[in-house]
Point group: D3
């Protein structure tokens, strides 16, 4: 796992996160104003867009721009990333500004959505710093940190950070988003093949919390450089 901060020159915050063969480029953009439905609230907004380059995977996928529409999986992941980051943002402190996190998967080998969340947090920190400085914000809009892992049961064994091969044979697949203080933001467990019981769920949650604690350290290190 490696995070290269400020990989991009133009973005207000950016990070290239590498995780096995998975590589996600996360860029944060700060803009004045908020979406229409939020105008006049005095509160900011944070949103995310996830996408995959056509040849990020083993076989080439058709571009969504060519199809003319965004697929269900892309929508689902973009929404997950946005929700996860919003959970640690104080929108009042932000004022009416919007930060957009673009998470583009350059290469995929499992765990792209959790890598995207973990990397996007780093880009978000720099974007928030930029916003505070530029707009003279009194209070820090960030109320915590966020990291995410995927965990699963493979051949009866609980496993952290499944790569693509493991992911495709996992019986249960769970994405867990955790704050730097170990609280849950999202718990998404899915029985791919067979329904799972409470004991399995508990094991996976333990594993996830421990994994996120490690990622939190790597984020801190990247942000202190």
């Amino acid at each position: 796992m490696r995070i290269t901060r400020n990989w991009l020159r133009h973005a207000e915050g950016s990070a290239l996160i590498e995780f096995g063969d998975t590589r996600v480029l996360c860029a944060a953009t700060v803009e004045d104003g908020v979406p229409r439905w939020r105008r006049g609230s005095g509160e900011g907004w944070v949103t995310a867009e996830y996408a995959m380059l056509p040849r990020a995977t083993d076989t080439r996928g058709t571009r969504e721009s060519v199809k003319g529409k965004i697929g269900g999986r892309t929508h689902e992941i973009s929404r997950l990333i946005g929700r996860s980051l919003r959970a640690v943002v104080d929108f009042k402190a932000m004022g009416e500004h919007t930060i957009t996190l673009d998470c583009d998967v350059l290469q995929a080998d499992g765990g792209t959505r959790t890598a995207a969340i973990t990397g996007a947090y780093v880009a978000l920190v720099d974007a928030v710093k930029y916003l505070r400085r530029q707009r003279n914000l009194k209070n820090n809009p960030l109320t915590g940190s966020v990291a995410a892992v995927s965990v699963g049961i493979v051949q009866g064994q609980p496993r952290l950070d499944l790569n693509y091969l493991e992911d495709s044979v996992a019986q249960t697949d769970m994405n867990v988003v955790v704050t730097g203080t170990g609280q849950f933001i999202e718990v998404q467990g899915t029985a791919e093949k067979v329904p799972f019981d409470r004991a399995h769920l508990d094991t996976l949650l333990d594993l996830a919390v421990a994994g996120c604690a490690q990622l939190t350290e790597i984020q801190k290190k990247a942000l202190s450089e």
Copy 2:
């Protein structure tokens, strides 16, 4: 909570599920053949499409057909319903047939996605019966039953089956899909406002499992009539 089985005349299975002011019409369609990527596998497929009538809610929403694209929320819920039902289907036993569950929300007052899953299961049972009869299937493609509830923390109190007002003020919101034997198919917990801890999670899961057990009884009753 009320389930009216066979509300539609043409569909191979159907159910109108009413739940407070929420009303979802679930229709199951049996078709020969499977999507291209599954052809030749000898296995069947189950998929779902969720949608809301424009005036199901308090203010009119623009039709997705008029917008020319399907929104992220619709995609996310359609995928959730499909995954939930596939967890109790033996695709080998189905043969190369497809069952599509259309879940159309006629009126919405919270919990539409979990009502859709619970109602769609009833429609699925009748569609599977039809398929077995028509195509002379030896083994039963259904391996269990599925029900779903939404649970949440409202003003510090764990609550089952949030309506729209409760939902919009909930701190945590969790959708849980459970089999008739009490095992988990999906656990989707989201911190709307503040991250939650393990104790909260455990309380909500207990509540959800109990709620689903009740729904399972209502499904059985509807299916035995």
Copy 3:
């Protein structure tokens, strides 16, 4: 033929119209403002959108939201419903408000467009009442009532209210929209197989006017409850 008024809780007016196996849910929405091209005119607007649930018919149709575009038939019927209702509305009396009639076919067995017009009128009446009350309108924006029937020649015999089977073998198919006082709003006759002569046309028009008179009574009854 049965009209259930106020089938929906949120809409300002609504009616479920059932007609043989045909079931159309009509919802009226009142909104302030008018489309851009009408702004500043001091006049209101009435428009309609027609759609069919995917499993309303014997074989499942692909959703127009999934196709990403609205089909010609849908467009044609939506425009017909809108025109028909506008013929009995005094836009000056309405002020700059818009009423949208959503007509969603839950189940189809012939005559869905005429059922939609007949049901939408009932929803419109309640929406206009709501608008008058809410916005203190001095004059009644409604100048009459509207009902519609389909008539046709089946095996040489003129027939009222064709169901799907009859419709598909009809030589001539005519949709007629008539006011409560028996005047014509729309006359749409189509030779499906063989061109028709004036005598046929006259017979069908007589039949249609008589049929609409019956529907007008049913509307009055529903509205008086």
Copy 4:
């Protein structure tokens, strides 16, 4: 009214029809095969597409290709043209071939849809001749001729062939499609402002039948040159 036959060099049939300031270019294309739903029937198909150049009218309209979707009016007229021509075609005699009529309005001044039908018939005749010759068809697929006019009530007076100014103030507007032998194919009467009675309808129909008889003569002349 002027019809220039074979205005195009590539098309199997074509006509430029001019009618006051209205100019519609009609092109007929013959292709082997029929739409999927008709394959194996041994029968042919005739369809039409209507469109308007952006500056056909007084103010420029946005291209439907740029909007990315076809408007309701375009759909409605395309369907009307297709239905009108199909009424005089014997699909069995055609065999599994498709003729597409493209009707593009180069300049508009009222009555474009009826001009399109009248011109498209001329293009169709040549396309059918081409098809018979090329594919050695035994029987003539054409069973009659088709012409269309718009009629209306302007300031209380029945009028034939409304131009744009008259059209926009007409109380009633009726498009009538008639065969060469004076029978009806389509009767589409619309109350633009006030509902109309049977006497009005009868007057307009008489006017329309007489108008179409004149057009039939002009078509015959164009086709005999």
Copy 5:
């Protein structure tokens, strides 16, 4: 080569340009205001849209409005026409007005893009005259004239104005846009089959400049009538 000025009645400028069997209808529309990104600049804008009628060519093409998207070739040519005309416009002198050139190919036999540029210039001249008169512009927004030709190497021979057959076998294909004073606006040379050397390029440029000089004369004549 023939240019019929004012072929359309509504447009502020128009020309039908015929060139062998190629026929392009060019219409210029004058509108107040400029695109959003240019507002407040005090400068005008000139843009173009190119399209082909479905049966302009030997085989029928699907309408881009039906496909729901504009093809790459259409985009490329529309941009070329717009750039070419903008090179002879003084936007300050125009003020915040927009002129849109619609170039619709009614029939195609090679060289449609260069014919469109040459004809659009004539329509532009009349539209600019209209704009000066209507808005009392002090200075002439036109700084020169524009004409364009396609040249190519066919079987080793340099050729002016390739028709479709020649075009499809050309080794090199070059579109050259030249001002009335013989300077270059666009040079677009493409090796269709084999890369070309400097000598070829020079020969083709000489040929193109000479060809454009002839077209400039034809434009002048059309504009002086």
Copy 6:
């Protein structure tokens, strides 16, 4: 200028090309079969798709997948890249296989289209090697090499490799695609502000040919590592 070959693990060929602050990721995909219109010809096909990440530039651009359509500039550049590479491919030697070049701009600072062509050639070489090995092709499908530069006149001075700032003030902008033996594949010169004369054109072409010769060396070096 730096080319990192095989930046991606899954693609059959890939290169990250860096050029000032411009970074383009080029991935080549080999697939069996060719587009429909080419089937049965025995010949292969090479095509390209160009795109820009939303935050590649100084201000964030809306994703084309979100807009639901591909812009004119994207189309134009994709077509240019495809044409340029096809000029050095022997399709007969390729057999019925397709190579797709995806050129995604991760960061933009001028010259992205020419960088994309230069990098895509390197990815193409590796993809062709893969194809020859896998499908046992007898003859080499590559007939030469391709490199491209942008040149322009900035404040009266001819300049090679304009960055974004220079590009936006250039009077003339020319993209030139040249083979390894110094012949032209594409010459695209555009007068951004003032038309240019033959002498300017000649100077820019000289500059471009010299620049491409340098790039050819860098490509050779990258391919020999």
